[in-house]
């Protein structure tokens, strides 16, 4: 079985229209600097960072402004030269008010980042490497913003045979990973080299959906000349191919047991952009102070791929992209399948923002909901092999325990079921509700015990 002809995939899943043509051939541009940056302390999963700057303090671009708040937490760096204006509550992409560091950019600074000489990573011990990654502020750029160093630390007793780079970008509209792979293939390969030095996996896979032939081609070329055990796997275009469980199934034909992590099947999954950022940190010392964001949708004048400093207000991004075509829009962070809808555009771009999708409100059809007709389409769509129809009916009657019995906690909210449901039942939404309640219940039981 040669890699070239194998087109792997997982079972079930859906085929939404892609809309990637809007941005997939646009080069990544640097977003200009703006006046103010808002840096929420909790951009990642885990404990919030702890600020180490005071109001009025001057900071340099790339300077650390907050320490990790624990092991599952990362440092935070200033994206600009400027002054700390305040540390206060500010609204973020979750709709919640979060403690944030507000930095006034120094209008007279050139905002040039002075690269450090490359860190000789070969000399680092594994713990030093992990600590270094934590200090870089690196989180997974695939969407969840999970601290990267935690993933890279292979716990005692576990082995990691495979490293898997997730370049699927299965969400419609998004092209940021695609562009990163095409424009920075060397960073990706170098990132792999660094990670491989510490993890020592047998094999490194880069999974890319076959709607990105240019990325596949260029990475295959680089990989073959790298001397690393890299295989670039071309995957069938299917949503949610990029979910790590699906990726593992597609490539290794293995399932991650329920409630377990990829490491339990000896695999480490990371987004390609995260790996590119890793390489940047070790080569130039640049922490995670900006990221590539796909700005797209039918309501933005100039869809683009932008490298945006973290903390930039979305309003500024809109302005840079030529403004909105209509006032009546809906802003989604991420893709249209899993993206988070926003109540306002005055929130900052954060580490987890992979895309900004502006959709004309009128284009979102009002959908008549019907009762579940048990057509089974959701069952055939659910990549987790759940029974969304049954779950949906249980949710309607608030039968949370029964939902738990029906494995609602295994749902990763990909939205495939809602996508196919001809009755337009808000399936994922009600699963989120159920999961929320069940988690809360479990937490209160724990605290009682």
């Amino acid at each position: 079985m040669t890699a070239d002809f194998k087109i792997s995939t997982f079972k079930h899943g859906v085929h939404p229209e892609e809309f990637k043509h809007l941005t997939d051939s646009r080069l990544i541009e640097q977003m200009p600097f703006v006046d103010e940056y808002v840096l929420p302390l909790g951009q990642h999963i885990g404990a919030p960072s702890i600020p180490i700057v005071r109001k009025g303090q001057k900071v340099r671009r790339g300077e650390k402004i907050a320490d990790p708040g624990g092991f599952v937490s990362v440092a935070l760096h200033s994206p600009v030269d400027g002054i700390v204006k305040a540390i206060e509550l500010a609204e973020t992409n979750t709709g919640q008010m979060v403690q944030s560091i507000r930095i006034q950019a120094d209008p007279y600074s050139s905002q040039i980042f002075v690269p450090h000489p490359p860190t000789p990573y070969e000399d680092l011990s594994i713990d030093e490497f992990i600590r270094s990654v934590q200090q870089s502020g690196l989180v997974g750029l695939g969407g969840a913003a999970f601290p990267a160093h935690v993933k890279f630390k292979i716990p005692q007793g576990k082995t990691c045979k495979y490293i898997m780079l997730n370049g699927c970008e299965c969400e419609p509209f998004l092209t940021s990973d695609h562009r990163t792979m095409v424009e920075k293939p060397d960073d990706v390969i170098h990132g792999i080299r660094i990670l491989q030095h510490f993890v020592k996996a047998e094999k490194v896979f880069i999974g890319i959906e076959d709607n990105k032939p240019d990325a596949i081609k260029v990475l295959r070329e680089k990989a073959s000349s790298s001397g690393l055990p890299i295989e670039v796997v071309s995957l069938k275009v299917k949503y949610p191919q990029g979910a790590e469980k699906m990726l593992i199934t597609a490539i290794l034909n293995k399932e991650v047991p329920s409630g377990k992590l990829p490491l339990d099947v000896e695999t480490l999954v990371s987004n390609v952009s995260s790996i590119a950022a890793l390489s940047e940190w070790f080569q130039t010392g640049k922490p995670l102070i900006d990221r590539v964001v796909t700005v797209t949708g039918n309501a933005i004048r100039q869809p683009s791929n932008l490298r945006v400093p973290i903390g930039t207000s979305m309003n500024e991004v809109i302005r840079y992209c030529g403004g909105l075509l209509t006032q009546n829009i809906r802003l989604l962070l991420g893709g249209p399948m899993m993206g988070l809808v926003q109540r306002s555009t005055t929130i900052p771009v954060v580490k987890g923002t992979s895309g900004m999708l502006f959709i004309e409100e009128e284009k979102i059809a009002d959908m008549d909901a019907y009762s579940c007709i048990r057509c089974g389409r959701c069952v055939d769509a659910c990549p987790m092999f759940l029974n969304p129809s049954a779950l949906g009916m249980l949710a309607k009657k608030a039968l949370w325990e029964d939902m738990e019995e029906n494995h609602v906690m295994d749902c990763f909210e990909c939205g495939s079921c809602s996508f196919v449901c001809p009755s337009h039942i808000p399936l994922v939404q009600s699963f989120r509700v159920a999961k929320g309640i069940l988690k809360k219940r479990k937490a209160s039981e724990l605290s009682k015990a």
């Binding site: 939404p16 469980k245 991650v256 409100e361 959908m367 009762s371 007709i373 092999f385 295994d410």
Partner: protein, 332 residues
């Protein structure tokens, strides 16, 4: 402080498949029209009137007894399917008032009482048909032969409401299945195939039914497991008995193409709402229907058992769903 303009928020995903429940239902309605036309062609105007009255019965009931948005309920087309299917499984000379009443019972007892579309456990059309069969067993087993006249109306059709039909012109003939059962005469498969036989309106032409079934399968409106498992079960079981004694037991092709098996298989057993949802459950469901069809046809008191078989398996569907849970990802 000026307030920012209100935006609109709604839940993800923001892309949706194009299929909607009403679209699915209407597609099924259109796929049924050739059957209605064929019924008219074979049995005359009376046949069409039977379908029309049962449809009126169901639509009017749907409209007047639905709580909530009754126009929406009527527009979605599912009541229309019920009415047409009910009409198609009635005999041609059936009194129109009974057909109307069947429609009322089908929707009233089979659907509205349960809370409308998607909530019912039993197939509404078959609830209506079972009620008619139990209420008026004579009328529903009085078969007139196909006569070919375009505008012929059977005198049975015109009975006064609540009154008996006097079948003056009814040359009551036996359907192939009752000939099989009571006289051990097997009709030739070619007749069964083309539809030149007495029987219910929609049962007669196997060719049309097969075409419609294939259409529904290709459009993925019905689940392929149901027809495959029903037809296989019937074919295999009847083949075994035919092989044991071909004089007493009918051949598999006779079993497959006679009576309401194809109509039941493609349109009624596959009713999305009343069939199981799990893949394994669908196999069991189909197997159960096939098994009961053969059981009732070969050894039961009645010549035809498709309706009862489907209703029985409808009743078992919640159990089937419960005991054939899908094993989620990560549990294998």
């Amino acid at each position: 402080m000026s307030r920012p303009a209100m935006t609109t928020v709604s839940t993800s995903p923001y892309l949706h498949d194009t299929a909607t429940t009403p679209k699915i239902m209407w597609e099924v309605v259109f796929s049924l029209l050739p059957m209605v036309a064929a019924a008219w062609y074979f049995f005359g105007l009376g046949a069409f009137m039977v379908v029309f009255f049962s449809t009126m019965g169901s639509m009017l009931t749907e409209f007047f007894f639905t709580s909530g948005d009754r126009w929406k309920a009527v527009r979605d087309g599912s009541g229309l399917i019920t009415g047409i299917l009910l009409g198609l499984c009635l005999p041609p000379g059936f009194p129109l008032w009974m057909a109307f009443m069947g429609g009322v019972v089908a929707i009233g007892m089979g659907k509205v009482i349960w809370g409308g579309l998607g909530q019912n456990v039993f197939n509404p059309a078959l609830v209506g048909r079972a009620f008619l069969q139990a209420a008026f067993p004579t009328a529903i087993t009085t078969w007139s032969p196909p006569d070919g006249g375009w505008f012929s109306l059977n005198s049975g059709n015109a009975a006064w409401p609540f009154m008996q039909a006097d079948h003056v012109d009814a040359i009551s003939t036996a359907t192939p299945l009752s000939q099989m059962k009571f006289e051990h005469v097997f009709a030739p498969t070619s007749d069964l195939f083309l539809g030149n036989i007495p029987g219910s309106l929609g049962e007669t032409s196997s060719v049309l039914l097969l075409l419609a079934g294939i259409y529904l399968l290709v459009r993925k409106i019905i689940n392929w497991r149901i027809p495959v498992s029903i037809l296989t079960t019937v074919a295999v079981m009847s083949a075994i008995f035919w092989w044991i004694d071909p004089k007493v037991y009918p051949s598999p092709d006779f079993m497959l193409f006679s009576g309401g098996l194809l109509l039941g298989t493609f349109y009624m057993a596959t009713d999305l709402v009343t069939s199981p949802i799990t893949p394994k459950g669908l196999w069991w469901y189909g197997f159960g229907i096939g098994f009961f069809v053969v059981l009732i046809r070969l050894w039961g008191g009645l010549p035809e058992g498709v309706m009862y078989a489907i209703l029985l398996m409808n009743a078992a569907t919640p159990l089937i769903n419960k005991f054939t849970r899908i094993k989620p990802y990560g549990y294998r």
